[in-house]
Symmetry: D2
Subunit: 341 residues, 4 copies
């Protein structure tokens, strides 16, 4: 961490600052310039509050030169982590497609979709039981019953499931769920993240609409600091000025994340674009860029889906996408290549 | 709502659509163009899922022409709502300044700040007990004990308090809190919003970093649909490409919101800018634009605040800001003027 | 175009509006709702100024239902356009890699890079002679002499060249240039665009940092309306809140553009990311998504490039990228597939 | 400037770097940490290309600690600059309202509006003769004839004029124009900026839609480096995800700019919002925040304006806005206050 001081800083305040920092186990290198005195802080600066230092009268600016996250940092854990979802491995060369409907509606729907996506190559089943909807007048999901239907479909198809939790109070329904999804709107719901740190289950953490890559890694830190190292990250589009797509898929986040963290990174082209006709090109792009998996919405009757129909594929179209993805994957970026540069 | 159909739509699918819409009580006006057939939907279209219609094969586009929110809509409630926070009124010409530290630290700190800000004209005391922090290694707030200290300071100073809730499970600590704040990161924590709808207490709902004005009003709808009409909105900056300020205060949100809704709108210049030296100009700007109040961070020793020190004012600087705000307010935009245009 | 009128519009003003529209050859369909009267405008509405109508007292809102661009619109020209750059074809299945240094520096540099990139599969040579730099104190390019050096390298290597124009007054230097680039900062330099419409040369138009896809197509319209149909579009990243990359590559723009227009679309991963270590994953992603070519910065000594060194590849790394791109391309999205959905 | 080196940097490369820097007159302070070696560069680092250094193999990161602009920097010129527009002073406590129509249409229109806005308190007349329009099919302005009509109105009303230049080739029409406007789309048209540096006339430079405050100041540097110190800056809204307003007025840019530069800063609420009904609240807000003037669109018949009618005020409404602005101004932020904090 670099602290740039204002010209002619008050000596008393400067002493207070250096004493306080030394008390935290930080050593300090001074570098005197014509216009400013610069302090280089050496040691474990993750314990130092940048904003606090920035607020001091004698300080002009503070700049961090090390990442503020540890557990997820590839620097301290160079090998890819492999996350095991009830026998299905993600990361370290293992590529998986998670598929299923936006919302769980009926047992027939879930079992039908599950069979279809499995036949096409998907290995984990998704389906929403608790649904975050912008409007209170929109369908809010089947709740606990939805999870039961999802688990029934999982059992019949022999696939593990992932489904979204929206609040700690819903955790009681997730006992048999294989992987818990924390959605984009909850990426900084810190109480929920802390709770996820105590579950031991694999967590699928989606990037928030307006959150930076660094903030995503800090949210992972909440989960990992609680003792749960089974985290998969998901890029699903960020909010920008462009309106042709619902969100803007930040494809660069895939290689950037793969370099910064050892955790697996998957991409959700359905939510990123909000348009079923863009799922295939975005799925191929994400695969090429080196992601560890995809999450795709599939509905057996998208025209009557209770939510997000516009971004769902039919099982037939999904099969076409999956086939193209598997064909392209041998030519995609690998984790090794990304980290060798 | 306007549905633009593709050229030569399949008649069977078109019949299905019109029958389904009529079943929802919607009447349909057809308008035939050279390139497209247009359906005008008349009736209560808030029950119609735009995305579902957009996903139909025969549909080119769907456009909403009415706002999707009702309870907060000024069209159905032209007079300003006045929200009463334990005797302190906000809205309808009543302007209030909420002030206090970012985090509750000690009783001495809280009581000191409370006395200072009250003397300077603040009427509601703020202080964080549960703190949303990007890093798990940062100070997380004093929790339930923090609320006790806050209430003690409130009692001594004779002011009502507002403090933030981060999770439903914390609600038990809020029995004696006068107004509950839902923070920016939780603006779309729908389970928490629903719970707020059942409390009856005034809710201070902050706009999310990347949420549109319309989404803010939809989140209000979650609270109001639960039966709680005591909602105050707070603009606190949005995330943009500009890095000179922590966020970009969307000053236009003040007049836009005041025209769209009858609920009071306040502004938080401290979080919007993240810089104490911008609080005064932004507070004056927000007042001039017609907001119903301000929320300002004040700390008796900002250089040692446990969080967000960089954006806190000293009590002395706060008194200067408050004085300037009160002097300017007679020349500010009024709700009547905004709605007369 | 749909015009939504306010409740109980003034009849005189309504007559004025409908007469004016009918005078423009537009026919009008009325659709009466409970809350509003809606006018559907049928005919060539590209001549109607939306903003003018929106400003009328009796109008609540105006919505466009047809694209405001014509010449570039795939609806009126379903087949891919193929642009010929001195014998090198782009579009309609022809995929090209444009490569070369950010800035032309010396003849040795240009000829060296040209030979290297040609050997690796590039077919068009790039190099900047007029350089848009944020700071007036940064290197501004060699100007007319730079173009001479570029053309010399082109002659020796047998490749056509593309180079950027920054102002109409520079056009005299472009006589022998094969393709003229209009950079991101000039995407809405309308006088320059008009001039490009009169050159007859192929134009490479880069998307502006903060311009929508629709605005890009409107800028194309300036060129095509002048009689020049030889336009290639280039996605090169947009400005967002994310700071891990210089810009955010909008990968979705590739399929969206390929559906909206018949013109070729290429991608510049070097400028999009500003980081040489992201060029390969982004180049693969763009290729997979169905672009018609790539534009990549290559420098024989990137560590001494006079500008933008951080995003340049060595010739050796470029050869690796090109090889991977060519290997992946048979598995990429095609224009036919994108337009069949 | 701070250069953070990678662990165990190659000594040969390190020597090359330090020799090169010393050759530029920079002295270097080394600061050795556990994880990295840090170089503090002392001297005139505005000549050092950050990107070039960042691209070196041995470099982890580079951070600037001084602003890269000089002429506009308040640090080197603490007193407010006052810009004289043919006798009308802006800055240093002088507050002016610039008003007039978006486009010059007829002599009658211009003279009528000029008389009206002058009577209401405006002191500089605006009107567009060369119009940047997104669509080539929209009205493009009257060009040279428009400037003649504008100057005629100026003469009759006794006010200086400001009007926009779009291309260097138009400069011949600007001989009698008092102040030249460089619009948002041309903020980084560097050739035009350089030319403005040679005119000696006052320049009104508008911030680009997606340009940071620092980039705006770098563009000013292009003008000032050419010898023209008469520059007025204009905040006119930035592009964000919010769609309720055409752009998002970045009100914080007013105090931030007033602290960073000695040049006057004005605000254009008409273009920022694109809505006439938001002009008054935004004009009041900007005034309160401490700007040195406003630029407001006024049309005597806004419903028939050839462009941007939706954001124009009638002369009567403008008079109401101007009156409110003048009444509020004694209570607004001053330049001294902003720079005392």
């Amino acid at each position: 961490m670099i602290v740039v001081l204002k010209k002619d800083p008050d000596e008393g305040q400067l002493n207070n600052l250096t004493n306080w920092l030394q008390g935290l186990g930080i050593s300090i290198h001074r570098s005197e310039g014509e216009q400013s005195l610069i302090l280089g802080l050496v040691g474990d600066t993750s314990v130092v509050d940048m904003e606090l230092i920035r607020s001091l009268d004698i300080v002009e600016d503070v700049k961090r030169i090390q990442e503020p996250y540890k557990n997820a940092n590839r620097k301290f854990h160079p090998m890819d982590s492999v996350i095991d979802v009830s026998g299905i491995k993600i990361g370290g060369g293992h590529f998986q497609i998670i598929a299923g409907p936006c919302s769980v509606e009926t047992e027939a729907q879930m079992c039908g979709v599950a069979a279809d996506v499995k036949a096409a190559g998907a290995t984990i089943l998704r389906g929403g039981a608790f649904k975050p909807r912008t409007s209170p007048y929109s369908f809010q999901g089947l709740g606990g019953n939805g999870i039961k239907l999802l688990l029934e479909a999982a059992k019949q198809s022999g696939m593990p499931v992932v489904t979204e939790i929206m609040d700690i109070s819903q955790l009681k329904y997730f006992d048999d769920v294989d992987m818990i999804q924390v959605g984009a709107r909850n990426m900084q719901n810190f109480e929920l993240l802390k709770e996820m740190g105590h579950t031991g289950k694999p967590i699928l953490l989606k990037r928030g609409l307006a959150n930076t890559i660094e903030e995503l890694l800090m949210s992972v830190e909440y989960i990992m600091a609680g003792g749960n190292e089974n985290v998969v990250l998901c890029e699903r589009g960020i909010r920008t000025f462009e309106t042709a797509t619902r969100n803007t898929l930040d494809i660069s986040a895939v290689p950037v994340l793969k370099k910064k963290t050892h955790l697996p990174v998957i991409v959700d082209p359905s939510h990123a674009s909000g348009r079923y006709d863009l799922v295939k090109p975005l799925a191929l792009a994400a695969t090429a860029a080196g992601c560890d998996g995809l999450m795709i919405e599939v509905h057996n009757d998208p025209q009557h889906a209770l939510c997000d129909g516009a971004q769902s594929l039919t099982p037939k179209k999904f099969a076409d996408v999956a086939k193209a993805v598997f064909a392209l994957r041998p030519f995609a970026m690998t984790s090794e290549e990304l980290n060798a540069q």
